[in-house]
């Protein structure tokens, strides 16, 4: 359970959102500029809100009233963005192992192998990341984020370099693993197909505000009615 009550101004943009994300897989859907990436950065601890709180399974990650703000590492939160941001001086295997400092060498190697297998990149561990295609780099970035087995996984349009079939196949492998390891996932996307294909809880963001939150079918129906209403009004 992720509880969020945030107020953050970024220039002229104002994100103000309060919600409880109870589903293991929530899609934050909205057009570009709706505040999806801002929200995910606040959840990850990469940015601080002006006010508000974030609690994951009852533990506070941020609470401005108490002056509490956990740094990204201790939050046990992982994030993958559209830009894979792989460390260019490290191999694929070293990238995936970067967040596994607490494991011994053998366990680390096993985990790297397991993660690369999960994302369908078993043939890549020795590669220099500069040699990877866009899709391969996104798979490796995903493996790196999954490796520490964080409690919260934040995905900000992470499959943009994969075609539809590859993206669907990856999601199909990923979702059971996340469920098994009890990782709550928040996927931000502006693509309605992504948002509604996963049969998840959908949070619809518009202009920095939460416009709707609920099962995908319900949010889709309300959004469809709104669009039809706008068209009818001309």
């Amino acid at each position: 359970m992720l509880e969020v009550a945030l107020d953050a101004r970024r220039g002229s943009f104002h994100l103000q959102i309060e919600c409880r994300l109870a589903s293991e897989w929530t899609v934050v859907f909205g057009p570009s500029g709706a505040g999806k990436s801002t929200l995910l950065r606040l959840l990850a601890g990469l940015d601080r809100p002006d006010r508000g709180r974030i609690a994951l399974d009852g533990s506070f990650l941020t609470d401005s009233a108490l002056g509490l703000w956990l740094k990204p590492g201790p939050r046990h939160t992982s994030m993958v963005t559209q830009q894979p941001a792989l460390f260019p001086h490290l191999s694929v295997a070293s990238n995936v192992a970067y967040g596994l400092g607490s494991l011994n060498r053998a366990s680390r190697a096993r985990r790297v192998e397991e993660m690369l297998d999960l994302v369908g990149a078993t043939d890549l561990p020795g590669y220099n990341v500069r040699q990877l295609s866009g899709g391969e780099a996104q798979r490796v970035a995903l493996a790196r984020a999954l490796a520490p087995q964080s409690r919260l996984l934040l995905l900000d349009e992470p499959f943009s370099a994969l075609d539809g079939a590859a993206s669907d196949a990856l999601l199909a492998r990923l979702q059971p693993w996340l469920k098994q390891h009890r990782v709550q996932t928040v996927l931000a996307t502006h693509d309605a197909t992504d948002a509604f294909a996963t049969c998840a809880e959908v949070a619809l963001l518009r202009g920095g505000r939460l416009a709707a939150l609920g099962p995908a079918a319900e949010v889709l129906a309300s959004e469809r009615d709104r669009l039809i209403g706008r068209l009818a009004r001309g």
Binding site: A44, P72, G73, S78, M79, A85, F87, Y98, R144
Partner: protein, 222 residues
């Protein structure tokens, strides 16, 4: 040829460069990754020796480290001898004088590292020291090289601070720049030419060797 002065100059440049890198790497990382308005004041202080005349800096340090100040008396009591007119005093002066030459290239190099990479490392649990050692330093190694070269060569040619703070004690504070000054003062231009040629040759050789190394490694990366 004053071999003793040459050895002392090389020793001073080496020790100063090593100390500067230890200080400048975390300082530059702090300036780049830190937050707060007062960081601008810190950056200005780190750059101040660029604008301060070396003789003025040497004079301030001579006064500060001398017996008239509490700092100077404290250091003398701790070390058993005053820092002024000693090799250790020269090292202190050189580190302060050359600080901007180590910090500025590192700040530029660290600032050029993509913020997304820093975010990724922080999300994976990297604390400040790991962030610097496993990410910023490897990705900004050419800046580290530039900082080392500039610090070394700047210290090699130092004159004003050395003369004010160290004087001219053979084997302790007499560097090649002081030797060159003495030779010119005595109208011994032949010896002065040799000393100047050595300083120039060392500078060119150090620059060429280190940049050639950087170029080779850069080629291997591509």
């Amino acid at each position: 040829m004053d071999w003793q002065a040459l050895a002392l100059t090389l020793k001073l440049a080496t020790v100063t460069t090593a100390i500067l890198l230890v200080i400048a790497v975390p300082l530059a990382a702090w300036l780049v990754l830190g937050r707060g308005r007062w960081l601008a004041v810190l950056e200005a202080l780190a750059a101040l020796p660029l604008l301060l005349p070396p003789t003025v800096l040497g004079f301030f340090l001579l006064v500060l480290l001398g017996p008239r100040t509490a700092v100077g008396r404290g250091i003398t009591a701790f070390l058993g001898h005053p820092l002024a007119f000693s090799f250790s005093g020269l090292v202190v002066g050189s580190v302060i004088y050359s600080l901007p030459f180590a910090v500025q290239p590192l700040v530029a190099g660290f600032a050029a590292v993509e913020p997304a990479l820093v975010d990724a490392a922080r999300l994976l649990g990297a604390g400040p020291s790991r962030l610097v050692l496993s990410l910023l330093v490897p990705l900004a190694r050419r800046s580290l090289l530039a900082a080392a070269v500039l610090s070394f060569l700047h210290t090699m040619g130092e004159f004003g601070v050395v003369l004010m703070l160290g004087g001219d004690i053979p084997g302790a504070t007499r560097t090649l720049s002081i030797v060159l000054y003495n030779q010119v003062e005595n109208f011994d231009y032949a010896a002065a030419n040799r000393t100047a040629a050595i300083l120039l040759g060392l500078s060119v050789a150090a620059l060429a060797a280190i940049y050639a190394g950087g170029r080779t490694r850069g080629g291997a990366r591509a």
